[in-house]
């Protein structure tokens, strides 16, 4: 774990107080009992005692499976410990804190942030592991031979890609909770997305045609598929995405799970090449 990694975690926990001032103390420790980031409102001794007490529980928790969360409701404050990718987030807040907000921060936002950080090898130090890992596939296995590429893909008209293409903003990433839809008229490969979110995408990308979304589960399964707006007005603005059975199976997910969704934005070059190729075929 690098210093940059700790700094990134420190930044996000420092923001906790701005979001919910009732949060009095937050820190993150790892499996080696080292404190990775802390708001420094408690002493090291206090934190060490908490880690020891938590480890004492975790060591005897075989009967219930690995401990995912521990919540203590005290008369004055509440404390929660949330497990996230071999690290543990400790959060203390007063009863005046918005419970939903605290849960969202400790159970959704920070764990997702940590997961994303872990995917950046320069920050998590995973590049060293990869270099040492003898099972890393050789480049030839990852990149198909050139002959194969030429056989399957038509050579694009390169002149088309030299257009003065404006730089598009990065696709916005949204997190939704999965709901299941079914019925005879429901296409099996089309998901339904919050219409407000779709409207925002159109605001960002103007007349760009967005026909597909990229969906990724917290476990790392990802697919691209078509989408439509959610039909029922009452289901909009609730932070949900509706999946037909086939998509649920493809992502190996279920109702109530969280997924990360972003629009697939075709670049200008791709679009004009596609159009030219279509014209050639005609």
């Amino acid at each position: 774990m690098t210093e940059n990694y700790s700094a990134a975690l420190q930044t996000i926990i420092n923001e906790f107080k701005n979001i919910t001032p009732e949060i009095t103390n937050t820190f993150i420790f790892n499996k080696n009992c080292e404190i990775v980031a802390s708001t420094e409102t408690t002493t090291e001794n206090q934190n060490k005692k908490l880690i020891n007490a938590f480890n004492d529980i975790a060591d005897h928790a075989e009967t219930i499976g690995e401990v995912e969360t521990l919540t203590i409701q005290g008369a004055e404050s509440q404390l929660s410990i949330t497990s996230m990718n071999n690290r543990f987030l400790v959060n203390v807040s007063s009863h005046a804190a918005d419970e939903k907000m605290v849960k969202m921060l400790t159970r959704v936002i920070v764990p997702t942030f940590v997961k994303l950080l872990d995917q950046i090898p320069e920050l998590s130090g995973n590049e060293l592991l990869q270099a040492k890992n003898p099972e890393v596939k050789p480049l030839e296995e990852i990149v198909p031979p050139i002959e194969q590429v030429t056989q399957t893909a038509p050579i694009p008209d390169m002149s088309a890609s030299f257009n003065s293409e404006p730089i598009l903003p990065e696709p916005p990433v949204n997190q939704f909770m999965v709901e299941k839809i079914g019925g005879l008229l429901v296409p099996s490969d089309v998901v339904r997305v919050d219409s407000e979110v779709i409207a925002k995408w159109h605001d960002i990308y103007g007349d760009k045609e967005i026909t597909q979304v990229h969906i990724e589960t917290l476990e790392g399964k990802a697919i691209m598929c078509g989408f439509k707006p959610i039909k029922e007005a009452s289901n909009n603005g609730k932070g949900i995405i509706q999946f037909p059975e086939k998509v649920l199976q493809a992502l190996q997910t279920s109702k109530g799970k969280l997924v990360i969704v972003k629009p697939v934005i075709p670049s200008q070059g791709e679009k004009s090449v596609e159009t030219k190729n279509k014209r050639k075929h005609n």
């Binding site: 103390n25 408690t42 206090q46 005692k49 908490l50 007490a53 938590f54 004492d56 529980i57 005897h60 928790a61 075989e62 009967t63 219930i64 499976g65 690995e66 401990v67 995912e68 969360t69 521990l70 919540t71 203590i72 409701q73 005290g74 008369a75 004055e76 404050s77 509440q78 404390l79 203390v92």
Partner: protein
């Protein structure tokens, strides 16, 4: 067939023997709380998703689990949760502990202390623990 194991220490038996003779004392008060909690937990035990419970006072203990072979492990875990959370509560000035919820990968445990009685209810992860807290406090 579901196996149910109930254990009571000899102290509680002694109390039962003297019940007719002794007027209400502090010990009887505690005993009546234990009896009331025992009855509540027996009802909670019937709820869907509840896998078992432990009720322990200084002198008595009642354990009732769907899987009796896990009783020892569950009792040790329950004891660790009560002791460790007491330490955490003290260190972080959380005030008197109202409830503790430990969610494992497969099962969650709700722990509460009512007077000298420590309660641990083991349940499936999708079971509603807030309803159980209310029933215990009723």
């Amino acid at each position: 067939m579901k196996k149910v194991l109930k254990q009571k220490t000899s102290a509680s038996t002694t109390e039962t023997v003297f019940t007719d003779q002794v007027v209400i004392t502090a010990v009887d008060d505690e005993n009546s709380v234990f009896t009331r909690l025992s009855a509540s937990l027996a009802e909670i035990r019937k709820l869907k998703g509840v896998l078992g419970y432990i009720l322990r006072s200084n002198t008595s203990a009642t354990l009732d689990f769907t899987e009796p072979e896990k009783i020892t492990e569950n009792a040790i875990l329950s004891s660790r949760i009560h002791d460790s959370c007491q330490e955490i509560t003290k260190q972080f000035n959380l005030g008197q502990t109202e409830s503790v919820l430990v969610e494992g990968e497969n099962v969650k445990v709700l722990c509460m202390s009512i007077g000298e009685n420590n309660i641990s209810v083991f349940m499936e992860k999708n079971a509603t623990h807030s309803g159980i807290i209310k029933r215990i406090l009723m």
